[in-house]
């Protein structure tokens, strides 16, 4: 293929890639083609000589592939964020530079045309495609076969405003509603005791049914601790629990902690 056609092909591929991605796997083929062509451009710019088809294909692939980190590092050095459009622009600059070098070189000597290359490319592409298809079918088959169940769990977490508890909570005399998040996965329906302890004292307890593979928020009432001292407050559901610390309202006439 002539260098001008090669350049036109790469530019067209880069334009397609910059349009945004709607068909990821089609775009992957476009990118692969662009990288191979870019690698070929590298070879024409640097060596400009004939070589065995397998060496040409391998080196073109390697050079095309390393163009991606090369452009990314170039963008980093230039202080540009690495975004898809910036990469396309970087690849465009690289293609321009290499294209100019190749065209200048070829004005004098022409470009080597290897009649074996297309056949060797087919010899790589066809088995490559076949093994990709085999891999895809094997993955699909494996994915569709039944797999052993993963171990299940029930989780309890502070929720809503309570997720931000970072220090002892000052609890007013009327108490406070603490939202907790109950989540279950891979477990059967179960009813477990939802308990609140302030210090070592059990202040409330009720059964809570936990549905399988569901997440819900539950408000739990926590009464005010008896004094302004630091108290451990535990909300538990079966074997799981959350723990935070709180102080009750200061009552006149009682000694401070």
């Amino acid at each position: 293929m002539t260098t001008v056609r090669l350049l036109a092909g790469i530019c067209a591929a880069l334009v397609v890639l910059s349009l945004g991605h709607r068909l990821p796997w089609l775009f992957a083929i476009v990118l692969l083609t662009a990288l191979l062509a870019l690698g070929e451009l590298w070879l024409r710019a640097l060596t400009g000589e004939a070589m065995p088809a397998i060496v040409r294909i391998g080196l073109a692939t390697a050079c095309g592939l390393v163009s991606l980190p090369l452009v990314a590092i170039g963008l980093h050095v230039a202080g540009v964020e690495i975004r898809p459009r910036a990469i396309v622009a970087g690849l465009g600059i690289l293609v321009t530079v290499l294209g100019v070098i190749v065209l200048l070189r070829e004005r004098a000597a022409g470009s080597p045309v290897d009649p074996r290359l297309p056949h060797t490319l087919v010899a790589v592409a066809v088995p490559g495609l076949l093994t990709l298809v085999a891999g895809f079918v094997a993955l699909q088959a494996y994915g569709r076969l039944p797999h052993p169940p993963q171990p299940g769990y029930t989780s309890l977490a502070l929720n809503g405003w309570a997720t931000d508890i970072a220090r002892p909570v000052a609890i007013p005399a009327r108490g406070v509603h603490v939202p907790v998040r109950v989540s279950s996965a891979g477990m059967p329906t179960a009813t477990q005791p939802l308990r609140v302890r302030v210090g070592t004292r059990l202040v409330s307890g009720r059964p809570l049914t936990v549905e399988p593979d569901a997440t819900r928020s539950v408000d739990v009432f926590v009464p005010a601790p008896p004094d302004g001292c630091l108290h451990r407050i535990e909300i538990s559901l079966g074997a799981t629990s959350t723990v935070f610390y709180g102080r009750g309202p200061v009552v006149r006439g009682r000694p401070a902690c």
């Binding site: 945004g20 991605h21 400009g48 391998g58 991606l68 797999h147 997720t163 989540s183 630091l230 959350t242």
Partner: protein, 647 residues
């Protein structure tokens, strides 16, 4: 307008003694037969590999038999077509491509939809960070130097960003290409040295028998791409050394330098390995030049390009990645200490296949493979001494590969030490290149000169070496799925850990500094997008877990955690119930007792339920997340007694 000129017959293609022109009809018939047989074998092999994974998942114990039946049912016919005298060049290229594709299948089936191996989490995170923040060289909390070598993850991020495929599929795109490049690259390098397509094909097959080929060098890890670059750098170097003086040599030198630069930007050890191989080539070239066997230009080109690569490597490690030496040094130092210990007291060694579930025949094959490698290398050395064939560059290459291949055996010493084993495995991917390239002509010579049954014997040896090396290189939990196992990098990730990390990310955000164990750290640091620390000598966060209930935590550690803004603590209570499969809770040199009993009591891990400076915000039975509240700590007092806050 661009001028075109027909290609001259390439010197390599022109001199292929054992590839006579095959008549077109016979060639076509052979191609059809080959395609048909390999499509059938590939289909059957893929089905058996799926069956192996199923057997492993359901723990039937038949996974090893299914796996190797699947591998060999494709590999052996492929080898037959590759070494067959009548196979043409294109047929060999096609079979090599199919071979590369098929040998990626075991890893693809093992990790079809996301990272699983330890380093894969680090690279996956790094690629995602690039897509999110658009920055390179960010520090990675899972493998601290990964960020300094952006070759792989920047490629993956670019593929993912440009095409819209997921990060994992972008990684597969790059890794499958890299795997194909390794296979074709070894063939191209062998052809540079031996000028024989058949020897080149055999060399590729021998290289593919190395212990890293099927699983380690196919993972989403920087060496998987770097090995391919190393091989192609050597191809370019050989062409530069051979090339006619002037522009052509300059051009190939530029390709060599560019690929060397790409290698160093991708992986530290491979860059050092490349430099080592280039130095061996230079040493051989110099020795031959001193005896006036080598043309001067060959030696000077080798030295010039090696010097350029050395400057690149040293400059990169000094300026861009100065942490690398500190990262690699402890492994080497500990390995040497352990070798010294083994020599002196017999201590510090590790037992091969200890508690492995690999079948007996895999273990015997692992030892047998080393024996075959030794015999093959001795024969290759004898043959190289007897037959001085090829031009100066070929002879240089062959002798350098003999030296490189010989380094395979000292690495066996390192495999006997806990700290050296990882490094030894990594060196095999380089040293096996030497073995492959010098043993290949011996194999072809045996096939041509040996008796009729020699082909069958060689295929059997090939099967034994493939089984043995793979068994020696990767433990079964990396190769097969199976029930969750605590303390396995690949099997300890249960949905519960992923759910905890997803909850933390959704409620508290990403990039939080958290304290975790090794296995939780992998998930929280990758999918969770957090900054986990698992402890080190200078920042011993494992002391938090080790402290007995009611005992003070070191004020210095609390001060470090507080001043470095660590906000969360993740506790995996399985540490009190199970012994980690790989005998690591946090990191390799942790001061944690290792025996057949768990190193922690439940009290040690649940003590945080009763310390006012840890608020328990999440609990799912095995996993608990605490938020640090260092302000609750009184000055000079690191912990409160259990129950005191509740009084």
């Amino acid at each position: 307008m661009t001028l075109t000129r027909p290609v001259a017959d390439d010197r390599t293609v022109a001199s292929t003694p054992s590839s006579p022109e095959v008549p077109a009809t016979a060639s076509r018939r052979a191609a059809v037969l080959c395609a048909g047989s390999l499509v059938v074998a590939g289909g059957a092999g893929a089905a058996l590999l799926v069956a192996a994974n199923r057997a492993a998942e359901w723990d039937t114990g038949q996974q090893f038999a299914f796996f190797w039946a699947g591998m060999l049912i494709f590999t052996l016919p492929a080898v037959f077509w590759l070494v067959r005298r009548g196979s043409g060049a294109r047929l060999r290229v096609a079979v090599l491509t199919a071979y590369a594709g098929f040998t990626y299948l075991p890893k693809l089936l093992r990790t079809p939809d996301g990272p699983l191996y330890h380093d894969e989490f680090a690279h996956w995170r790094q690629a995602r960070e690039i897509l999110l923040d658009g920055r390179l060289f960010e520090q990675n909390p899972i493998v601290k130097v990964v960020g300094d070598f952006p070759g792989l993850h920047s490629s993956v991020a670019a593929v993912s960003g440009l095409t819209g495929v997921s990060i994992w599929h972008g990684a597969l795109f790059v890794l499958i290409l890299a795997h194909l490049l390794v296979v074709l690259g070894v063939a191209a390098l062998a052809q540079e040295i031996w000028h024989d397509a058949r020897i080149a094909a055999v060399a590729t097959i021998i290289y593919s028998l190395n212990s890293s080929f099927l699983f380690f060098d196919t993972q989403f890890g920087y060496e998987s791409l770097a090995i391919a670059l190393l091989v192609w750098t050597l191809v370019a170097l050989h062409r530069a050394m051979r090339g006619p003086a002037g522009r052509a040599r300059l051009g190939w030198s530029a390709v060599t330098v560019m690929l060397s630069a790409a290698t160093i930007a991708t992986h530290h050890l491979t860059a050092l390995g490349l430099l080592g191989v280039m130095l061996i080539l230079c040493a051989v070239a110099t020795a031959r030049a001193l005896r006036r066997i080598n043309p001067r230009a060959v030696t000077w080109t080798a030295w010039g390009l090696t010097a350029a690569a050395a400057v690149l490597v040293v400059a990169y490690l000094a300026v861009v990645a100065p942490r690398t030496a500190g990262y690699l040094d402890p492994y080497l130092a500990r390995a040497l200490d352990q070798i010294a210990g083994m020599a002196g007291t017999g201590g510090g060694s590790r037992t091969l296949f200890r508690e492995s579930v690999a079948p007996w025949w895999e273990r015997y094959a692992a030892f047998g493979a080393q024996g075959f490698a030794g015999i093959a290398m001795a024969t290759a050395a004898w043959r190289l001494r007897r037959r001085r064939e090829g031009d100066a560059v070929s002879r240089n290459g062959a002798l350098a590969m003999l030296v490189l291949g010989s380094l395979y055996f000292p690495a066996a010493l390192l495999i006997l030490t806990p700290s050296g084993a990882e490094g030894a495995r990594r060196t095999w991917a380089f040293s096996y290149l030497g073995i492959a390239l010098v043993v290949a002509p011996v194999v072809v010579w045996l096939l041509d000169r040996g008796r009729r049954w020699s082909g069958g014997v060689l295929l059997t040896v090939c099967a034994v070496v493939m089984v043995g090396n793979t068994a020696a290189g990767m433990n079964p939990s990396y190769r097969f799925p199976g029930p969750p196992v605590f303390g396995s990098d690949t099997r300890s990730s249960i949905p519960e850990v992923s759910a905890a990390s997803a909850w933390l990310r959704s409620t508290q955000g990403r990039d939080l500094r958290i304290v975790a164990d090794r296995y939780s750290g992998l998930i929280f640091g990758s999918f969770g997008g957090q900054q986990p620390v698992t402890g080190s000598v200078s920042f011993p966060t494992y002391e938090l877990y080790l402290a007995q209930p009611g005992r003070d935590i070191s004020p210095r550690l609390i001060e470090q955690l507080s001043s470095w803004r660590f906000t969360y603590l993740v506790v995996d209570r399985r540490m009190a119930r199970e012994v980690p499969e790989i005998q690591i809770y946090f990191e390799t040199n942790e001061p944690v007792p290792h025996s057949d009993r768990p190193a922690f009591t439940l009290g040690q891990l649940t003590k945080f339920d009763r310390t006012p400076w840890t608020i328990k915000i999440y609990d799912s039975g095995n996993i608990a997340i605490y938020r640090f509240d260092f302000a609750s700590l009184q000055p000079g007092k690191a912990s409160l007694q259990p129950g005191k806050a509740g009084r």
